[in-house]
Amino acid sequence: MTYSEALLGAIVEAMDEDERVALVWGSLGGVSGIKLDFGSLRDRHADRIVDPPISEAGIVGIATGAAMAGLRPIVPIGTGSFLFRAWDQLIHEAGGAHYMSNGRVTAPLVIHIRHGMRGGGGVQHSQSPQAMLWNAPGIEIAMPSTPADAKGLMRTAIFSDNPTVFLDHQMLLRREGPVPDGKHAVPFGKAAVARPGRDVTVVAASLQVVAALAAAATLAADGIEAEVIDLRSLVPLDQEAILNSVGRTGRLVVADECAPRCSIASEIAATVAEKGFDLLKKAPVRVNRLPSHVASSPVLEDALRPDAGRIAAAVRGLMD
């Protein structure tokens, strides 16, 4: 099953199961020719499906108010870059509601975006806003890398009482993989060992897990066994899984598509340096998008991308 189909499955299932789940139709399927067929969903639940105009701020604000009223809206914003238009509503209203009310109000909306370098997206259609989002309290962040996790994490997101930003990498949508039937939930805050290994820990999420696995395969040919940790959610974070792994390997590489400063890689590296300093045999290494916006030309885009080659090179730099 493809990643997109698995994701869709979780949404269809939740809408059939729970009348509080509503969908802002829009762009869930994504560009690049992927068309999700919502089948008869629209006919079954016409009263819980709306079509959005191009008003990200208004829609996120409305979804937040609706969530406070008990609805569980799923709001596809499309390209992650567009979420900046709704930044205030997301961070100040959705993200702040539970805390401000001293725990009496919840805002269980799911914001769905497609993040990342997609091939030709350029400066304004390639954002990876997860690092900025992680700096904001009160928001859960899910970033699957497999079809099964896309399904299982989406279910968790929908039924979570917190606002969740759900990020699919544009280049994962067609990824194939086995997906459990029925109501499959993957809890937030539990990282997966995508590949076990003894020599170095590579921490990643979303498409970077794919890159890390490719790097690990190459490295294995040279006898280097990289352990790939798939975070699956940033909030909550499975810090223990990371520290346990580094405890065994003594080496850390973090692969991350965000620009380097204040990135996911910075946070993981800092966390391990702070909490696991004595576990580290070598300096932690960040493999990020180079410090730039994303250029449109594929050649420049490739030059900026954190990929299997750069991850493998970083690992090799730690082995001596």
Binding site: A66, H98, G103, E140
Partner: protein, 344 residues
């Protein structure tokens, strides 16, 4: 709940207005005495709007307010003691000290969350009504916002969306006229819009739109009855622009008690009105105006209003004491409720 009420109803709404006025005077005093610091805003001069609109709501309905929220909370039935304690940052505050004056709200009374960002209330109110519509609760929502909110794009987006998605929401723009300064400097849309009004915009979007004297209790009461009935019946948005004259205490960044503690007797004894702020006392102050109208209608006499006032004052004085007696929050709880549920 429906229809404009007779004198008895006006008297009841006047009680709400008076409570708000006396509450705000207590807030001012608490600030002046140094019991809390930071920026704050008072609802003086707009009491008729909040009281009359909210008076038409039921328990299923919700309201959303702004930085100038005290009057809305009280009109919705909020507890003045818990509200004052919240403003003082105490454990006994509605939000345990997390809200402060900017964000007074209480989910228990259908006021889930208050945004202090200009225009923030507007999509939230529409959203709450949208949720009610999809969940079929029968509830509607009211979003209160200032004329300044009109300058924020998200408000326009929401008007458009409310019409497109047929959301049962009442938008109440409280146009309290920009301060003299802002207006002179041209720093406000209402300084160039025809008549200083925002209503041409919702009108252009085809939203049923009404302009009302927001300091006229009876007028707002009647309009709100109609407007809310229409929202419930048609299941779409209605827009009300309530015009008030800005309270002289609201001319600079921090409120000043420019007009002093309200002397209710000015309502029936014009001799008590001096030259300073004569226009305010004689024609603009919604509390004095409502009192005069009640006398005119024979709904109460001066003595009855005085007695009512004494009761309200006593209630607010008690609320003040309760609030001041409330303990400070436990610093160890500062991290509670960042995330809901097991996820934390």
């Amino acid at each position: 709940m429906a229809g404009a009420g007779g004198p008895a109803r006006l008297l009841e709404l006047f009680g709400t207005m008076l409570a708000t006025r006396r509450f705000e005077e207590v807030v001012y005093a608490l600030f002046a005495e140094g019991h809390f610091s930071g920026h704050y805003h008072l609802y003086i001069g707009q009491e008729a709007t909040g009281a009359a609109v909210i008076g038409h709501l039921s328990g299923r309905d919700t309201i959303f307010s702004t930085h100038r929220n005290h009057g809305h909370l009280l009109a919705r039935g909020g507890d003045p003691a818990a509200a004052l304690a919240e403003i003082l940052g105490r454990a006994g505050g509605i939000g345990g000290g997390r809200l402060g004056t900017f964000h007074l709200a209480d989910p228990a009374i259908g006021m889930p969350h208050t945004s202090a960002l200009v225009g923030g209330a507007v999509p939230l109110a529409a959203g709450s009504a949208f949720g009610a519509k999809l969940l079929k609760t029968g509830g509607v929502s009211v979003g209160f916002f200032g004329d300044g909110a009109f300058e924020e794009g998200v408000v326009f987006e929401t008007l458009n969306l409310a019409q497109l998605w047929r959301i049962p929401v009442l938008f109440v723009c409280e146009n309290n006229t920009p301060g003299a300064l802002t207006r002179a400097e041209g720093g406000s849309n209402t300084s160039y819009l025809p008549g200083g009004r925002v209503s041409p915009v919702p009108e252009a979007l085809g939203i049923p739109t009404h302009v009302v004297d927001g300091a006229d209790l009876e007028a707002v009461d009647a309009l709100a009855a109609d407007a809310l009935a229409r929202v419930r019946r048609d299941g779409g948005p209605v827009f009300v622009e309530a015009l008030t004259i800005r309270w002289p205490g609201n001319q600079s960044q921090y409120p000043t008690m420019a007009t002093g503690e309200t002397d209710l007797a000015m309502a029936w004894d014009a001799g008590r009105i001096g030259n300073e702020h004569r226009g305010w006392f004689a024609a603009d102050d919604p509390v004095l105006r409502a009192a005069r109208r009640l006398l005119e209608l024979g709904a109460a006499d001066a003595a009855a209003l005085q007695a009512m006032d004494a009761q309200v004052r006593a209630r607010m004085a008690a609320a003040r004491e309760t609030a001041l007696a409330s303990p400070l929050p436990d610093p160890a709880t500062a991290l509670d409720h960042v995330l809901a549920g097991a996820a934390r």
